[in-house]
Subunit: 193 residues, 2 copies
């Protein structure tokens, strides 16, 4: 259960974890299961948990006034979920996060997470996590403002082909900032050639 998290931390930090470190991490992170469609976070709440995905897939999205969902993030094993803004500032979130596949998570709270400050590898890994998240978001911004729908899809095929296996097309479409119809047509054209 915790092995994936240990691996993640050791890999990102480039440092091994001691037995005591592992002990502490097991106390700080609490397992949680989520059934498909179950919410991890709902608009209006304060995001109390930050979680590491051991198994499963989740989506983070906003809902507009017409009831349409807009995917901000799709996440699978070894990714982190939470709304950093709500989590750190304790403000109500504007996002929803729910499970698309049944999930096993390791969750922690802001208070518990402070205990990690004494584990250099964990501090380092969390820092990397934030940076990676920022980098990923920056790439999405730059593709959203600079590329056509077709190019955005091509980029996803290139960089995250797994998503295509794990999530239905209409979610992918929303994630790419287009409608399911447009995505469907793009895929037709791409495979036709």
């Amino acid at each position: 259960m915790y092995d994936k998290l240990f691996n993640y931390i050791e890999q990102y930090a480039g440092l091994p974890l001691t037995e005591t470190d592992r002990q502490i991490i097991q106390e700080v992170f609490v397992p949680m299961k989520l059934r498909k469609k179950q919410y991890f976070l709902q608009e209006g709440e304060v995001c109390k948990y930050m979680a590491f995905i051991v198994k499963g897939a989740t989506r983070q999205y906003t809902v507009d006034d017409k009831g349409a969902e807009h995917m901000v993030q799709l996440a699978i094993e070894n990714w982190w979920i939470s709304d950093r803004e709500s989590f750190t500032m304790l403000t109500p979130t504007i996002y929803n996060i729910d499970a698309w596949e049944d999930c096993e998570l390791l969750t922690t709270t802001k208070a518990d997470a402070t205990r990690l400050a004494h584990i250099p590898a964990a501090v380092q890994a969390l820092r990397e996590m934030d940076i990676n998240h920022a980098i990923a978001m920056q790439k999405r911004v730059s593709s959203a403002i600079a590329m056509t729908a077709e190019q955005r899809y091509a980029q996803l095929v290139e960089s995250n082909p797994t998503f295509l296996q794990r999530f239905p097309q209409h979610m992918i479409a929303s994630y790419l900032g287009m409608t399911k119809e447009t995505l469907s047509r793009i895929r037709m054209k791409a495979s036709g050639k």
Copy 2:
């Protein structure tokens, strides 16, 4: 010169800096001046510096195959610039960063920055910086995929009115993911009402 940076750190960390801390920070961060239009980073280089803007304004952008520029970030006093990806992974960057107004910066390198690890307030502030950056980017993603050009402009007026003063309209337009003509028409319509 360094005061703005000290303030920034103390404010974000919620901790005071000791005299020694200040001493170290002054050694770690090197002043640099940039004239309008001068590059801080060019596509293809590795990003060697991370910088705090004491005074001035910069823009970060990509250039597509048709030669069009796409603004990824606009930054002014109290903001940080660098390509986190290139800076941390030492890979060549795909971005350009240059000065739109004459700038005074405080720069540091990856190696020098490690010295900050001994200053809790600095560690904390840098962490906040990353988180804030990620949050800001996430908001841009969510508005880019979920909102119309008009709504995106309205949101900017709401959240970053200063930008409208400091940057020419065609840069704002690019930052918002639309053409200068579209932005011009939106502003006409908005002021007409």
